[in-house]
């Protein structure tokens, strides 16, 4: 699953640490999320989207596995 976290983060001039603090997770979680290595829970995805003033659909690019 790809995402646009980095792009949105840059838009609001937030560091990974800033975003982690705002969302209430550890910095490593944001690092893995951003690199697409970690699939977040729906709650976390919603929380990140809320902080970055967008929607889950706008932030995460869902790919068909077929």
């Amino acid at each position: 699953m790809k995402n646009r976290i980095k792009e949105f983060r840059a838009r609001y001039d937030l560091t990974q640490e800033d975003l982690a603090k705002k969302v209430g997770v550890r910095r490593e979680t944001i690092v893995f999320l951003e690199s697409g290595k970690y699939n977040p829970s729906l709650n976390l995805a919603h929380e990140v989207a809320k902080v970055l003033k967008t929607t889950v659909d706008g932030l995460f690019i869902f790919e068909d596995k077929k």
Partner: protein
């Protein structure tokens, strides 16, 4: 945040107790001339764990001070997955202990067989080492599912 700080203090206290236990044990063995190569290895494993825990505590303390939580959904997934995998690996470790019992008994204790305490101790030590290795592995891996 206060809860996280309390948790970290508890981990620090347990680490200090482990460190003191290793220190006292090693000193007692040393003073009674019982500290041989096997003994040093026996004390080296918990000592490595203490060093690792010290780094872990310092890092997490900085994070808490910076306003980040001690654990989140990913770190909980990492420890759950590491615990499940280490339990699975321990079953094979126990099988290896029972199959190669004479070998382990001779190498580690200089006896022909292992008693119950040695077997359980070996299994628990193996499980702790597996948990430590898998924890680092899954924490670095990123992709958990």
């Amino acid at each position: 945040m206060e809860k996280d700080k309390k948790k970290l203090v508890l981990i620090a206290i347990m680490t200090v107790i482990l460190f003191l236990g290793v220190l006292v044990g090693a000193f007692m063995d040393f003073s009674s001339n019982m500290l041989d190569t096997k003994g040093i290895i026996f004390y080296l494993i918990p000592l490595i764990l203490v060093v690792f825990m010290a780094f872990f505590i310092i890092r997490r303390y900085r994070d808490i001070k910076g306003g980040m939580p001690l654990e989140d959904e990913r770190s909980r997934q990492v420890i759950t997955k590491a615990a499940a995998t280490s339990f699975y690996a321990t079953l094979y470790w126990l099988l290896a202990i029972s199959m190669f019992e004479p070998f382990f008994a001779k190498i580690l204790f200089g006896t022909k067989t292992l008693d119950a305490g040695q077997t359980v101790g070996g299994a628990i030590t193996g499980m702790a080492i597996f948990l430590f290795i898998f924890w680092i592995y899954y924490d670095e891996k990123g992709k958990l599912i």
